[in-house]
């Protein structure tokens, strides 16, 4: 039986987690299918500005004439892409460095952990703002940059857990039976660390989505990229025209839903893997 099967069963029973997952899947699917389901080209500004919502333009048009609904779908796509990519890269780095430092130890462990300490002291949002404002890298470079500065908490958690796992009997038994470090990592440690990096993934994705929206709201992202932050920034300029309900609100709701869905998933994962947080135990504690 799959190692993750009980976890899946547990997750299915967790209503918060399921709600979060369904929301996230819905938003992600919409984002992935944006090029197909968007009714208009989001970069085409040939339409009249400030049209009210209609069958042709579900959320109307904005100041320049973009179809707001199509722009929203593409902006969501950017947010999901940014969040998932940053989380994936940061988790991979955190996992590799966390496990390897715990298993190899010595000078390597010392150096990596000091780097982790140093990175923990640097506020990642400031670094990202400075890099984005002065070097104007592409979205992909920003994804990598952000991943490189937010992996440290995952690495630290994974290292601590691996150190603890290393002393467990079944690992010792495997090692005594001649299993290599690679084999132990692949077959025992990485699967058993799943809760940690699953949590890390969701948390980092949430941070990345928020940072992307924040930076583009500040206007330091490529202005031609479709982004929820840019949409909100422009919509705020025209609040006096009563366009908040068809322009600002959908962008704010989409961003909130994306962040809330990730938060619910992370809450559920934490609850599943930390028995102290379960409702049925809470009463007895």
């Amino acid at each position: 039986m799959c190692l993750y099967f009980p976890i899946c069963q547990e997750f299915k029973r967790n209503r918060i987690g399921v709600t979060g997952l369904v929301m996230f899947l819905l938003l992600s699917t919409t984002a992935i299918l944006a090029p197909i389901i968007a009714p208009h080209d989001p970069w085409d500004y040939s339409d009249r500005s400030f049209q009210s919502p209609s069958m042709n333009h579900l959320l109307g048009t904005n100041d320049i004439g973009y179809d707001i609904f199509s722009e929203l779908l593409w902006a969501l796509r950017t947010s999901v892409f940014f969040g998932v990519s940053v989380a994936a890269i940061a988790c991979t780095i955190g996992l590799i460095l966390g496990v390897s430092t715990a298993l190899i130890g010595g000078l390597y462990d010392l150096v990596v952990m000091r780097i982790v300490d140093a990175l923990l002291a640097i506020p990642s949002i400031l670094v990202l703002i400075l890099i984005a404002a002065y070097f104007r890298p592409s979205t992909m470079i920003l994804v990598i940059t952000l991943s490189l500065i937010i992996w440290q908490t995952i690495a630290r958690g994974i290292r601590a857990q691996t150190l603890s796992l290393k002393t467990k009997l079944h690992i010792k038994a495997a090692r005594n039976m001649g299993a290599s470090t690679g084999y132990i990592m692949r077959k025992h440690i990485i699967p058993e660390l799943f809760p940690l990096y699953a949590m890390g993934f969701v948390t980092k994705a949430r941070i990345a989505v928020f940072m992307e929206a924040g930076l583009s709201f500040l206007g330091i992202f490529d202005p031609t990229t479709k982004s929820l932050g840019i949409m909100m920034s422009y919509a705020m300029r025209y609040l006096y025209l009563d366009v908040w309900f068809n322009w600002l609100l959908p962008a704010v709701l989409s961003l909130s839903m994306l962040i809330v869905s990730l938060a619910l998933i992370s809450y559920a994962i934490e609850e599943i893997f930390d028995p102290r947080l379960r409702e049925d135990n809470a009463a007895t504690v």
């Binding site: 970069w43 004439g65 206007g219 490529d222 422009y234």
Partner: protein, 568 residues
């Protein structure tokens, strides 16, 4: 009897109280102006920030030699008349004889001569006095300013912009930038300094009763910092505020008077003409054909503006050339011109030496009056250039970074903007070639490749004959539009609205305040010498009469009461 007497005495006291409050209310008339930024520095020449709003706050306290109103300029202010002596290359100004500083000291010619000496020693950002040799007080009210060479923009550039300083205060000031003593605010303008709060961004001025052009029609002028000036105006918290273009009709319906500003500010495309292929005039002309100015106006301004003149000077200026070369939107012509430079059309992109034609476009978020605001110009330009086969790398940077890159010529194209295109045509000189001895400006093309243009620009700076100068200005615009050191895109229309019940008729100054500040807060509107002379004079009369009437009524009541008491 005693009761009647007591009631009457009480009634008299009540009447007296009411009348007194009526008198004080009638005499305290204030005008409030909304501002989003708030802090523009202390309202003193050296302390106010070197931006339009900073100067505007200072001009209420400090007068210049000459000034401008809604339709004319220069008109007399501290100088009642003036003359240019060609033989001596000097200006003679005769000052008004009843002008006083706010501390009561008379204003004399030696103050003007002192100001020039002082500002030559302590440079003042708004005025460059390199062309002025010296100034002498001929008698108590006559000052003669000797030039070191002909300088055509003198009247607007120095006469109408340089605030006159009181010699008896400033002669001992070593470092004007650190001088924040009460003396720094003693001026000759219609208003006295009362208060400034940097934290709250508020300014308060009080009318100067002994002002030589007459007492101002209001007692207090207050600047209020507010996040939403338009809303503050609608709520009655202020009397004058800038409003959004789309709200013009709504504000008119609510009874406000809306004034549309002249088109003296332009958004323009800076071009690095030291770099290939932008160094080629034909390529720059191709860019001009590829750019659809009307689309910028329709999309970026939503129709509230007009296409800019390719000759830089505003088409509404008296200096505008009637036959500036035009580049009507024609993408096919643009493609032809690019092809003539050896580029080949390949799948929607021009290619030369196997390399695509690619330009980097820097955008910064300069908005109205230099305030940061996101806009759509970069997106529109990106689209328009890609339609004629030019690949665009659109880069949005912090305003200061864009300025730095433009100054270091580390760019291809950059969207920038500046005002002053309705004032003296000196702006054409300043924005085309680097003024010797000045810091490089991010809005200046620094283009001196055309001898013909240099000659015309020299003419507009030094030709003292008005008609010959106008000719040089026209010719300079025509050559500028042909060679395109930069491409002007559009001029936005800005709106202000004011409450007519407040009794002040605000107006936009011809050519802008001083050197061309497009803000409708000319001090003349507050001393009844501006556009609304009749209304403001009537207000002044009413204000003077109302306390007297109220007082007469009170006195009459008291006499009647006294008479009644005596009889009974």
């Amino acid at each position: 009897m005693t009761n009647v007497k007591q009631i009457l005495i009480a009634a008299s006291i009540i009447c007296l109280c009411i009348s007194t409050s009526v008198i004080s209310a009638a005499s305290e008339k204030e005008i409030r102006i909304a501002d989003k930024a708030g802090d523009w520095g202390y309202p003193s020449p050296y302390l106010a920030y070197a931006r339009g709003p900073g100067y505007v706050r200072m001009q209420f306290i400090f007068d210049t030699l000459v000034w401008k109103n809604e339709t004319n300029g220069p008109i007399p202010l501290l100088a009642e008349n003036w003359e240019y002596l060609k033989d001596e290359d000097a200006y003679v100004f005769n000052l008004v004889e009843n002008a006083k500083w706010h501390d009561g000291t008379p204003i004399t010619a030696s103050d003007v001569a002192f100001t020039i000496r002082y500002m030559k020693g302590h440079p003042y950002g708004w005025v460059v006095l390199d062309r002025v040799d010296r100034a002498e007080a001929v008698d108590k009210y006559t000052v003669k300013i000797y030039m070191s060479g002909p300088y055509a923009p003198f009247m607007e550039d120095i006469g109408g912009t340089m605030p006159i300083l009181p010699e008896h205060i400033w002669k001992d000031v070593e470092n004007p930038m650190d001088y924040v003593e009460p003396g720094a605010f003693v001026g000759s303008g219609p208003f006295k300094y009362a208060d400034f709060s940097k934290e709250h961004g508020t300014y308060k001025y009080e009318a100067f009763d002994e002002y030589y052009l007459g007492k101002p029609i209001i007692d207090q002028l207050i600047y209020v910092k507010t996040g939403d000036p338009q809303m503050a105006l609608q709520r009655g918290e202020v009397d004058l505020a800038s409003i959004k273009s789309e709200m013009v009709d709504a504000m008119k319906e609510k009874g406000f008077i809306v004034i549309a500003g002249p088109h003296y500010w332009n958004k323009k495309l800076m071009i690095n003409h030291n770099k290939q292929p932008l160094d080629n005039i034909v390529f720059r002309q191709a860019l001009a054909y590829a750019i659809n100015q009307s689309e910028f106006v329709d999309k970026s301004l939503r129709g509230y503006g007009k296409p800019a003149s390719y000759g830089l000077i505003s088409s509404e200026s008296v200096w505008a050339s009637p036959n500036v070369p035009d580049y009507p939107y024609n993408p096919e012509k643009a493609k032809e011109l690019i092809e003539s430079l050896g580029y080949e059309w390949d799948n929607g992109v021009f290619i030369k030496d196997k390399k695509p034609l690619k330009l980097q476009v820097l955008v910064s978020m300069i908005g109205v009056g230099g305030q940061p605001a996101p806009d759509r110009d970069g997106e529109i330009l990106n689209d328009q250039l890609e339609k004629v086969g030019i690949q665009v790398e659109l880069t949005s940077l912090d305003t200061k970074m864009v300025d730095k890159k433009v100054i270091n010529r580390d760019f291809d194209l950059a969207i920038s903007g500046h005002g002053g295109i309705g004032a003296d045509p000196k702006i054409l000189y300043e924005k085309t070639i680097q003024v010797p001895g000045s810091k490089p400006s991010p809005n200046t093309a620094r283009y001196n490749k055309s001898e013909e243009l240099n000659e015309c620009l020299d003419g507009l700076m030094h030709e003292m004959d008005a008609s010959k100068r106008l000719e040089a200005v026209h010719e300079a615009q025509n050559i500028y539009a042909r060679e395109l050191p930069a491409i002007s895109l559009y001029c936005p229309t800005w709106y202000y609205a004011y409450n007519p019940d407040a009794g002040v008729e605000w107006f936009y100054t011809t050519g802008g305040i001083a050197k061309g500040i497009p803000i409708p807060q000319n001090k003349l509107a507050l001393i009844g010498a501006g556009a609304g002379e009749s209304t403001t004079a009537a207000m002044q009369k009413e204000q003077q009469e109302s306390p007297i009437i109220s007082f007469s009524v009170v006195m009459a009541i008291l006499i009647l009461v006294a008479f009644y008491l005596k009889r009974h």
